[in-house]
Amino acid sequence: MQLKHYPLLLALGLLSSQAQAQTDNDALWMPKKNLCGGIIYQHGQWNHYWEGTFYRENLNIGTVSSKMAMAMASYGINDNLNAIVMLPWIKNQASAGTLIGQQGVQDLSVALKQHLLGRTLCGKYYFNLAGVAGGSTPMTNYVADYLPLSIGMHSTNGYVRAIADVERNKWYATATASYMLRSNVKIDRTAYYTTEMNYSNVVRMPSVANMMLRIGYRLNADKFVELIAERMETIGGFDIRRNDMPFLSNNMDALRTGIAAKWALGKGGLSLMGSGMYTLAGRNMGRSTMLSLGAVYQIDFNKKTIITN
């Protein structure tokens, strides 16, 4: 399952996309009338960040840590169309300084993933192509304008993503590209400075593009190990000024790398998942390291199981 949660990613640089099966980020499929549900726990932290492009520490926040527990479910509407739902609870804290931490339920995301080109053999390679459309919206009235400790951006987002997957002898590579639009965000104050004064409580949120490449070894949809490279780029936004606070509409970019795995235990439908991500470079974000662990359980409502992949 998947921690693809942009607002959070952008806000904290703590979380990262992870690659697990049947997410909105891979070309693997839940068979028709199969439901997969589970919980993922993730811990991320950073003690250095990029103020614009300037790399620094800040003794007044020390180490910022983020804990997340996320409920997720993925369902096969049919063999070529999956629905994916996620809802995280997040707790953010700083180890130094006086600022109080934040916690709560963040945004509900819903995505639909459609096969555009089914698993097709071409020479010795299997090809897969999928399209995803999704969106997320805040479930609670959490404080957005309190970076780096707010649990999200409080925007409602819509995104589309293309996924291409190629496989040979159980080795595979998956490439994804996505583009996300974000709604305006209302904050609690009536004026804020970006590169100019804005006499408004409305913040325009720049769009976000994301590209990812994953290479791995896959026994089937529930057993694989992969290496990840990810580039996230905010299209627009502004840099944090010297010694200023971060802001919602900053130009937040990140380049990350990591590893992820999923392993099914026996044939009972239970799988464990784990991942680790590290930030190589960034802009207006923390240099975060993240570890996650999760368990999902798959139920087949067809009575008979068909592994299609």
Partner: protein, 512 residues
Amino acid sequence: MNKYIFTFAGLALTLSSCVRDREPFSLDFPVLAPLNTDTGAGSWKTILLSKPDDFAVTAPIAVTAADYKLELHEITERQKNKTAQDEKLLSYWGAGTVLRWNEVLRELVAKYNLPPVQNPDGTYPIPSSANPLAYPAFPFANPPYAARAYAYVSAAQYDALVSANFYRQKYRRPVPSQNLNSIVELIPVSGAYSYPSDDITAAGAAVAMMKLLFPGEQANLEAKLDECINTMILSGSCTRSDAVAGEKLGRDVAAKFIARARTDRAGAAVGTPADWKKLESDAINRGEIPWISREIPERPPMLPLFGKVKGFLMDSLEMVNGRPGPPPSTNSEQFRKELAEVKSYSMNPNRTYFRIVHFWGDGVGTYTPPGHWNAIACEDFVPQRFSEVRWARNLALLNMSMMDAAICCWDAKFYYFNPRPSQVDPEIKTLTGVPNFPAYTSGHSTFSGAAATILGHIVPARAAAYNAMASEASLSRLYGAIHYRSDIETGMSMGKMIGNKAVLRAQTDGAE
């Protein structure tokens, strides 16, 4: 199935673009058409000028002179070739020059309101006015600096406009459209006379004053002034010589305020390491816990000698006599009770408290609490349709009261030098940053008490609303767990006392 996906994607994008189409970045203030032209303003009581004609304004050339006809021609030519950008500028500057320069000042305050980063050895650099563009940029426009900046700019504009009104009545040069029928008044032109232009007098005074206060912005300010002048000439409200005379008068009057600003002791308000040490040892000698910076590394206190700055409404004797009694001793039962109250807010934050704390936070990177009260005032002044001179007068009253509030508040803070709640009990976490100066009295409360009092006098229909806002601003510091109740209650009553000094001036300055 593909079509579902794309319908869904389409919906998401459509929804998103609906929300994004709005233009939230500027307030659409209407063009100013004053209800009362205040033709008698030339006799209103000035602040630093001894009389309205302290600075000479030479008599204008006759409206029949060839040079003047060329000036009228400039207007008609500009009006014939008006562009879409001109239209934007007309509606921008047409809302009022005092208003717009106040917004410019608020923007500069926000831009410069950033505390410097520490040096590698843990000390902090101090911004230098002699080298304003080097890091750390000068100034660090923190609340006391900002309060003083707002006061000087407003006060200089007010004196300059009183003088301009005096000369307009003296010289009685008719407004351009009276001298040439083909000139259209693209914005409402206030009064019958235009020499010197009140808009450009206000602009000239503001720019000269702001160049002192924000020396790194000289080029931007001069460019903005050119834009203002050209727009006002285009509008038909003044000719080139009306503008030139106004600009000069504004700068002349500002020079008087600049000279005062150079000697008002604000330049020494940073203090020295010896001053900082003495504040601490004095508190210890009184048997109290001294204030310690909550920042890491410890940052020297913000402008500890600002309490010695020369005020506008109160002299230093009045200020010392008005100094509030001490806060509860850090050894007292009362102190423990108040600390426990702060802690209860820290332990039980809710969304409403966050909203209030952040609405009134006005911390780093913002226009500060005095700037917030300027924003509140301006929004309420717009529908009042004041003349420019009355706009300046009302903002001067507001801002002089807040500068004096800053002085009195800083005097108390550094006289008593008491600790913040989170210093005494490190378990107290805060909903906003802890300001880098002692707790007693609360700056927010003192500013807000002063502002609500004078604004309630200027716009009586809103008096109750201002008091409610001041009370909320004040309590926000308790909800945020950065102030004790004593800080905010004493600050509020001190602020109201200072606000009443401004009311007293308002009642006797000839404008009411």
